[in-house]
Subunit: 325 residues, 2 copies
Amino acid sequence: MVTLAKVAEAAGVGESTVSRVLRNHGSFSRKTRERVMEAVERLGYVPNRIAGTLASAGSRLVALVIPSLTNIVFADVLRGASGILEENQHQAVFSVTDYDPEKEEALVAAMLAWRPTAVMLAGFEHTEGTVKILRASGCRVVELLDLDGTALDLAVGFSDRAAGAASADFLLRRGYRRIGYVGHDPERDTRAAKRFAGFRETLGAAGIPLVDRENHAGASSVENGRSGLERLLARTPDLDAVYFSNDDMALGGYFHCLAHGIPIPARLALFGHNGLDIGRVTPQPLSTIRTPRVATGQVAAELVVADAPSQVVDLGFELIEGATA
Amino acid sequence: MVTLAKVAEAAGVGESTVSRVLRNHGSFSRKTRERVMEAVERLGYVPNRIAGTLASAGSRLVALVIPSLTNIVFADVLRGASGILEENQHQAVFSVTDYDPEKEEALVAAMLAWRPTAVMLAGFEHTEGTVKILRASGCRVVELLDLDGTALDLAVGFSDRAAGAASADFLLRRGYRRIGYVGHDPERDTRAAKRFAGFRETLGAAGIPLVDRENHAGASSVENGRSGLERLLARTPDLDAVYFSNDDMALGGYFHCLAHGIPIPARLALFGHNGLDIGRVTPQPLSTIRTPRVATGQVAAELVVADAPSQVVDLGFELIEGATA
DNA sequence: ATGAAAGCGCTAACAT
DNA sequence: ATGTTAGCGCTTTCAT
């Protein structure tokens, strides 16, 4: 294995000189620089960041602990964050919790062992243990995609509760009165639960009850959305609108309606959440709320890279009228 | 910051003893073990893996350098791999190349600086530089999702060329003769290009020409599939079947047909690639090929963890008849 | 069963 | 401008 010492020897200079040249920090002559670079090339030297980090602190590693990779939402956040991190010579390290707070704690502990610059997590719901080790670690913490709660340090995203409320408000303004809900596992996906809470609250304030709901125990998916709507309609056929826990679910509902010739939105209105691209190209564009997923990752990464002071950044969301509600 | 030395002092034992207890390696008394664990708890000690790795070699880090996160294919591979890696106390570190070989080289170099156990890459197409540093690094290399080429070390996936051929074969057996193609950027997505090559080859062998094709310069997406099919049909209306570069594109084509009342498959047959879940729940299930994405990640991770000898693992694929062709 | 000490490959003073 | 040296926080002989 080629080490810095070998490069120094090959170039006929001291180790610290090689280090200075490689990091382009401190002073050295043009000639020295060339000699060093030549040796680096010739030997195929790749600096050992493990050693570098140990010697200097600052690992330039950012840990992302996310609930799921299947859910495009987190893939988008990851993409936004890793883009900015790369541009700033940081590395993204990630792991997946499957929406399990205990697993999250274990993973956070494992990540902390790499002494990351920051840890990014989804939402505000963490175990006491997670909060404790995070606090003790002294590293930056970013909580993503939730603003309805108290931030540990940095928080970036939008309010799910407000998004749910806006969705309800939209359906009410459109004149829908017999409204149902099709959702997925609310225990695990607490952000979807918050949307639903905001949704119900707004309906309630308008004196309109939620007529019926269907909750699938598993993860959100197009399939579960389709079967969920089917069950809901079997039980309560006379709904005029359905709110889905997200676009995947809503898309499933849409497919159910297409397959069974249910006119949309005349006979039944559908409303989703997330504003996925696919919802823009269905025969009828999906009525939904576009969430700032990539931007959330980007802003989170920017704050970390800049070592910004603790703060909460609300990126908001945008209602897309679409043609299904 | 709590270090092993502080734990040792607090527990009244030597550093090496703490190390042994923590790694459960070597011998120590029951009493000592308890004293150490008590101190660890009390101080909230989290071992520093940076230091541990430097002292012992073996970083237990596995680098995944993938073309895209938007493409669910790679998210699936990532998920498969990270699951197995976690179970075996390894960490996944990843970065995204945007299908750019030069960027891949830079990223591989950056990852190598962390002295990973293995580097996983998509496909066989790499720059000379990438191959060189990979070889020099001495770490394991896994090339994913491609078998049509020469492996550097380990390779796991299926043959895109064979998948394309199987798709053509299926359409021919169904009796389609005026066949078109809608694809995305073939320069970047070389695996899609290989599928297309296999597809054409099989058509050619049967004496059936490819009537027309439409290639979008950008990435694959539902939107580009929809607009691509629209352009293709505007130019060549009398096609009886269309092969798409993947399911996202095919889904877009499907939506175009739904929106324009084109009967499927009577008037036009559609065939995709990947076997995404969403294609199972559309009003008509999509005819496509299911690829072993999660399994690819899993098997790759298993081989790395087991430090298996160099080999090529063909996970095959499965044709799904569906109802669109 | 346990401790002392020598590194692992770098960086960061501190000299010169 | 450049070299010397003392760590960074562990793991790993090697003694005891």
